[in-house]
Amino acid sequence: MGVGIEVKDLNAWYGSNHTLQDINLNIQPNEATALIGPSGCGKSTFVRCLNRMHETNPIAKVTGSVRIGDLDIYNDASPVEVRRRIGMVFQRPNPFPTMSIYDNVASGLRLNGFRNRRVLDEVVERSLKHAALWDEVKDELKKKSGASLSGGQQQRLCIARALAVDPEVLLMDEPASALDPVSTAKIEDLIFQLKSQYTIIIVTHNMQQAARVAERTGFFLNGKLVEFDSTHKIFTNPRDKRTEDYITGRFG
């Protein structure tokens, strides 16, 4: 089951660049939350703060608090522990090219020392089914490399890889922006199905996509969270003028 996320006074920097300023929001469990905003507005940085990936850059800095479920991720846990509980899917599909499809999905569990082959088989099958990739790859699971799939399949493989460790939260940083419309539709279907089991946060440039998959939407601009509300409200009757300008395309 997914868990809620509570963000308080989150600030983030890249060097002297203050990329996130005083972010406060609550993300509901088992919902899809979309984050929209122009390039460089801080939405990707925000997502990377939720699993402590932001700080892997040596010049990055974070302050404030993030609670995921009842875990204060910046005070009560190491980055490694946090990332084990949170799955992440990146903008560009990044399967491991030297591993088979099976090994790609199993990598998260194997990394943490999981060796039971029977359970691994089950997890790989279940994750690939969840990611709607099973039927396309089940005959060549151990023969084909992760890099031999098409772009859309690779991205679903990455989703399966993230799901295999049974995360409580799934972060998706523009997961469909490098894909064609057919693959995009598949990913969106997937998000729709997955949110009953996971809390999903999806960064997207595509506003229709946000409207289609998310219950709630947040609009970021210049490092600030301008507005956060139900997706319906954001797209039909936003409170802030800047939100309205952005979703109607009157923006820069």
Binding site: T98, N112, S145
Partner: protein, 356 residues
Amino acid sequence: MPVSVTKDVEKLKDTSVASPQETAATHSGASTPQGVVDVSSVRKFLMARGNSAVADRGFRWLMIACAMSIFAIVALIASELIARSQLSIAKFGIGFFFKQAWNPVTGDYGALTFIYGTLASSIVALIIAVPLSIGVSVFITEMSPKFLRGPLSFLTELLAAIPSVVYGLWAVFVLVPILRDDVNPVLMKTLGWTGFFAPPNFGQGVMTAGVILAIMILPIISSLTREVMTAVPGSQREAVLALGATRWEMIRMGVLRNARIGIVGSIILGLGRALGETMAVTMVIGNRPEIVKSLLAPGYSMASVIANEFTEASDSLYLSALVEIGLALFLVTIIVNGLARLLVWAVTRGASARVA
């Protein structure tokens, strides 16, 4: 749509008319009929260039010649080695490569001792240099603070620039005493039971040659390994980190695994240098044509025997045997490289080599 296209064409005409060349042409009296776009100066220039087919064909043949010269060089070397070792080949046949004898007095020659010496010292070198150089590269690419990165890379590359005779001198005066008095006694005590570290301990021997070779091939392996590891995309590192990997797990799964083809390639190059290295090895290997299990005992390598005895080879069979040693070295290098390639192929079969 059609309207905007016409507009664009109109705009194009405007700019071409407005260019200084055009204005000049109009001034000099050449009249341009209304509605016809005049050829711009850039277009004129490009059209005057022709199709450059001759130059392209010339370039092609030049490149083919460069590539073919490789075949020519290898063929020349091989044929010359075979031709000059005729005497020895005729006398000893294929048995030459499997015989331990080396006796200029009775005229009995075999290459096995030297093949052993070369292989044993090179293997010792690899055992020491591979983990060391991978460690150096991992530190430089993944862990080093920025200010150390430059100096470390520079120093490793500097190691490659030192002439081998200097390594040899250093080995004779520094490495030999250290190994003889400090390292070898410990090895004999702890690993003596394996038989690889048994007396006598002169300080000069296969082991010493291996250590100096390790230092010499370290920069080759580590600089290439560093290049391949730097080329692994950051997205691979992030993918592993996001799964909850520690630093070491990230390096193992995200970096080393993706770079392994390149790492094996760099090891092959290092091995190539170790097999053929002459001067430094000659100065410390002991130069005694004997196969002894103990690595501390003196041995003799193929390159060393050629370098040492070429000038004193008094009769033509002796000389011929030495050339055949050269041929053996040539063959060993080819076989080792072939095996290494086979290894790479076996490791990467099925997996894509996208991240080479």
